[in-house]
């Protein structure tokens, strides 16, 4: 079988690209087309975690039916209880000298 001339093959390729409407790129130059061709990943990315309805979201919905967030209620009650026993958050230091970092012994 006789070898086909390279020029003929190139012509065939060009014609093929014309027919199938693909880019004729004989020297394989990087045109960046793959970044345009690739599908967008974002829409499927944001659907990865299933939607979880929180109590606050539920209460923000229209309608009269509201529910109590017992975990938040308990947390606030615990904070109050700690404050009552003097175990609350310390006061913000007004000056560097007041801060705990400064008063710590070396």
């Amino acid at each position: 079988m006789a070898a086909v001339a390279p020029a003929r093959l190139a012509a065939l390729n060009r014609l093929r690209c014309e027919i199938f409407q693909t880019a004729y790129n004989p020297t394989s130059v990087r045109t960046g087309a793959k970044y345009l061709r690739a599908r967008l990943r974002g829409p499927s990315m944001i659907r990865y975690y299933p939607d979880q309805l929180t109590v606050a979201q539920f209460n923000r919905m229209p309608g009269d039916f509201k529910i109590q967030n017992w975990e938040e209620y308990q947390r606030l009650a615990d904070v109050e209880e700690k404050k009552r026993r003097g175990k609350g958050v310390p006061k913000k230091a007004k000056s560097p000298a007041e801060s705990r970092r400064m008063s710590r012994k070396r």
Binding site: R30, G32, R41, Y48
Partner: protein, 100 residues
């Protein structure tokens, strides 16, 4: 309430989704060898200005149940232990423990 790492991941996912088209356009210009080098360089500089939570590589598929980042079986989105527990509880359709 998902843990902080999951929240960060959700943030990254939304950032990627919001900036994807613009980033793709810049990528196309920056990687296109037929364009002048000056233009490509400018596009690359623009790409570098995007924040960290706009890059698709910052997104990690974490366990949808516990938020663990390792040992996640991608088909179910669960870590290996959650997968085992749910499979044993018959919560995963078509999955049951091998026995022969």
């Amino acid at each position: 309430m998902p843990n902080a790492r999951v929240l960060r991941d959700i943030k990254a996912r939304h950032g990627v989704n919001a900036n994807e088209i613009l980033r793709r356009a810049y990528l196309y210009v920056a990687r296109n060898q037929t364009l002048p080098a000056q233009v490509r360089f400018q596009a690359q500089l623009q790409l570098n200005t995007f924040g960290r939570y706009t890059r698709p590589t910052t997104v990690k598929n974490r366990c949808i149940e516990t938020g663990r980042g390792r040992g996640v079986i991608s088909e179910f989105g669960l870590t290996r232990f959650q997968f085992r527990q749910k499979a044993l509880a018959n919560e995963l359709p078509g999955v049951h423990k091998a026995s022969w």
